[in-house]
Amino acid sequence: MKPKAVTLNINGRTHHVALAPNVTLLHALRDLGYTDVKSGCEKGDCGACAVLMNDNAVNSCLVLAWQAEGVEILTNSGLGTMENPHPLQEAFADAGAAQCGYCTPGMIISAKALLDRNPHPTEAEIREAISGNLCRCTGYGQIIEAIQMAAQRMEEV
């Protein structure tokens, strides 16, 4: 159970950190300050902890931090900033798609993974893409609108 020095590539930055083997990527990220990655169920059911690993959306609660060495990790805060938001982040704000905001980072990660592969998704494809992300507040309507809005805006660029 000895900690090991691992190198994590997060949002384009390199971190060297000593971690025990039983630390999940979720907690490694949060302890490094990436608190935009949320802890929900820690069982792979809610999607609040979703991040991109080499462009694939995954539950970071089910990945061990040591398994993430050599992988490009992208979290919501790596997509954009307050000064320079990603179109998805802007659209979520404009569409009123965040109430408590807890599901939002994970939703945006799943939406990014969708739009990377399918820039013009149908509503059914959007619903399917976020089917691993639970929201208790919004009823999903504005979230779907936000993703449609972002897709349209990204196409116009």
Binding site: M1, K2, A20, P21, N22, V23, T24, E42, K43, G44, D45, G47, A50, M53, N56, A57, V58, N59, C61, L62, V63, L64, W66, Q67, S110, A113, E128, A129, S131, G132, N133
Partner: protein, 286 residues
Amino acid sequence: MLPKFDLLIPQTLPEALKLLAEGAPDILPLAGGTNLIVDMRGGHRRPRALIDLARLEELRGIRIDDGHVVVGGGTTIAELMTDPLIADHGRPLREAAARLGNPLIRNRATVAGNLVDASPAADTAPPLLVLNAELELASQAGTRRLPLEGFIVGPNVTLLRPDELLVTVRWPIPPPRSAATFYKIGLRKAGACSVVTTAVLVARDESGSCQEVRIALGAIAPQPIRPRAAEDVLSSQSLTDTAISEAARLSAQATNPIDDVRASAAYRRRATEVLVRRLLTEMAIT
């Protein structure tokens, strides 16, 4: 917090098999972790160490070999959904992959993991059963092949030995003029543990009459099953409504379901009969 364990990260299959041989049975292989990490968090498994399989190239890839589709055990469920060989020669598996878990889970969960975890509701099992899948199991002592049918012996119990890895899953390319499909009943469209799953394959001869029918049923018994009595009724028969209804009835009879939080045994029996009839009818006119 997860319990404490050591994490070993071998670079090759021989290295992994050596670690497994030395550490079995207190050491477990880790692929996608979508079952294992959850089980460990819940206190149901406490291995002394885990072996991360991610770097083993021998577990990756989908190819054709000697008339068979060969799928690496480390292939993710997401990869099954998009691979052209699976689209062409493994349609029921592709359909099952699309219903397994949710997109986040599918990017990590693997075929081998789904089979070795061996939930009675494992979604990849019924499709692979109608494809007549065979498993390649490797250990330091060598390699052996077992049919998938009979590999899962009960809930979360298989014939895999503690020092073995499931390296590949393979099946013969289905005959021309055959059609196969899969259907899942769950309480939700995503993130649902299957209530009832059914897969069928119908193969026809040159004249178009039905030559062979394969049926596989999941979530309706301690392990996924092929209801042979139902299949026998249809071999070398025309797929009339009467014959299909009889096969559906026999399929339901072959189940051994339980009442649980998701559904009653009676529902599972009835739904099995409905799904077998519906899927056979669909394949009969394909």
